[in-house]
């Protein structure tokens, strides 16, 4: 990893003097704006639909703007235990997962980057190799393992497989291995043990990677549908994605009047998490994408 990065292409602006540069820039902006509109288009519908009356949402043909603005649909969402409980459940699970992943990834990365012990490199490669097996292949067997362990229908069945991320360990290890050895040596000279070095020196230095990992693992956890679906039976334990799909047909009618506002509310936690950590985010992506 280069410590001194050359000035990025996009920062230099690369302008040619004269009108042709201006023209090019306008064309670029037009294309981008057009595509941007297409990308954002579905969100307009999500947003405006949430402020419509129940009847207005399900009336066909659909209209973009509400005939009558109301906060009623949000009230109905909060009043519905089938939506509120799962929302909280998802948040609890996701935050727990993030904490676990950050802890295991940073510690794991540190151990493989800096500490010596027999079999270190072999174990690291094996951990990386686990990413080669897709989750779908482990779906049925892992379900059986959880059943044997008596963990079905509990949050442990979701948290335990999610607690360690090979990708996270890999990222942290890459990031930690470029921390200058001198810092490490100096701390050792002062009598710091390995764990103390981890807490006092390593952790503060890898904040960008931890931020990126926080976003990734939060999204993965909040988003998860298949595994929680398979593992959870108890209505009180349902996560938000499961609850949203259960709304699809009660009594044969699709409850879009509830789905729309609930979906909009479901977008809030990931958005907030992303905004909080995004400063470190692009750095994290660049590290994970380019290196190797």
């Amino acid at each position: 990893m280069t410590i001194v990065t050359p000035r990025p292409v996009s920062q230099s602006g690369l302008r040619r003097s004269g009108g042709s540069a201006r023209m090019t820039e306008i064309i670029i902006l037009c294309i981008l704006a057009g595509l941007c509109l297409l990308i954002v288009y579905p969100f307009f519908w999500l947003f405006f639909s949430s402020f419509k009356t129940a009847k207005d949402i399900v009336t066909l043909p659909v209209q973009l703007l509400p005939r009558e603005w109301t906060l009623d649909s949000f009230r109905r969402v909060f009043a519905s235990p089938d939506l509120l409980r799962p929302y909280i459940n998802s948040l609890t699970l996701s935050f727990s997962t993030v904490a676990l992943v950050l802890a295991t990834s940073s510690l794991g990365g540190y151990v493989f980057a800096r500490l010596q012990f027999p079999g270190r490199d072999l174990i690291f490669i094996l951990i990386l190799a686990t990413t080669m097996v897709p989750f779908i292949t482990l779906l049925i067997p892992l379900y059986l393992v959880m059943q044997r362990l008596g963990l079905l229908n509990s949050y442990l069945a979701i948290l335990i497989p999610a607690a360690v991320s090979s990708f996270g360990i890999f990222l942290c290890r890459q990031f930690i291995s470029v921390i200058p050895r001198d810092l490490y040596e100096a701390a050792k000279m002062d009598g710091c043990g390995d764990f103390a070095i981890y807490i006092r020196i390593i952790l503060p230095l890898i904040k960008p990677v931890l931020a990126a990992l926080a976003i990734f693992s939060f999204l993965a956890s909040f988003n998860a549908y298949l595994w929680p679906l398979v593992v959870l039976n108890d209505k009180d334990l349902f996560t938000l994605p499961i609850a949203l799909t259960k709304l699809l047909s009660t009594y044969g009618v699709t409850n879009y009047d509830l789905i729309m506002p609930a979906s909009l509310l479901a977008c809030v936690p990931p958005l907030v998490v992303f905004l909080l950590f995004q400063r470190h985010f692009v750095q994290g992506i660049a590290l994970s994408g380019i290196k190797g």
Partner: protein
Amino acid sequence: MAMIETQAGAVDATRTPTRSDKATRRRVASRLGLVVALALVVYYAIIFVLPFGVSIWLSLQNWDFIVDPKYVGLRNYQRMFSDSYFWQALRVTVTFSAVEIAAALLLGLVLAFLLSRLRGARQRTFMALFYLPVITPSIVAVLLWRWLYIRDGGAFNNLLTALGIPPQPFLLSSEQALYCIVVMVVWTFVGGVIVLFLAGINDIPEHLLEASMLDGAGLFRQFWHIILPLLRPIIVYQVVVSVIGTFQLFEQFMFLAGPGFSTRTLALYTYQLGFQSMDLGYGAAVSFFIFLALLVATTVQLRRQRATFEY
């Protein structure tokens, strides 16, 4: 002289410690390292190795979850090759992946390049908007698009009729349904692709592009002859990751399903076999096939990359 055996060899213990002794001490195993490594090994053994082994074992059984499993050898795999549902699911999966990856790659590259021509706040604003679908919960996106694709009076068809185009059946047509899902998935992931490629473009030293500009190269030339070749490793990486990802997409195919089995992927087929038809042995076999297919695809991709790319 009292000799002590250390990891590095015999050392005279009566000497005062010198610099090289400190070097030797460092080679003694770290206790923290051992503890953590051991914990990880146990963890992965239970969460990964065990299920993987069970997966193989299960694929050789016939089991409906009620009666005891019965060993049937490779019969599940033989059944796979004569199962028309399997071949259809394979076709659907491969078609979907190929089209989606091509579209996302192309769009992502072009948009990343265009974005790289902008500066600071403008670039970041566009970037944030393109990235919105990535951080939207996937169920939200799926349900939203399901609603948009409603044929009679749905948002997309309204837009089409307003533009003078006849309304489309979308998810109600076995020809269109899969491509409707492609559009939705491209929409979801193009932001991530753009971020990756933009980072790659930023790594390109600016003097290369400046030199080309002095030689009179226009935007398109710059893109084709400089940026594209230098982005090759990232493109390959993105393709590999995308193949692995698209083969495992699930909720999109469950809730944006087209008529019949026109949108049933291998992943969906596995789930239905294991948790609906209660045909666990066969389901395990299909899911193991997915693993093998991905392994082959990934290896082939990486081999080709190493063979052709030179810096």
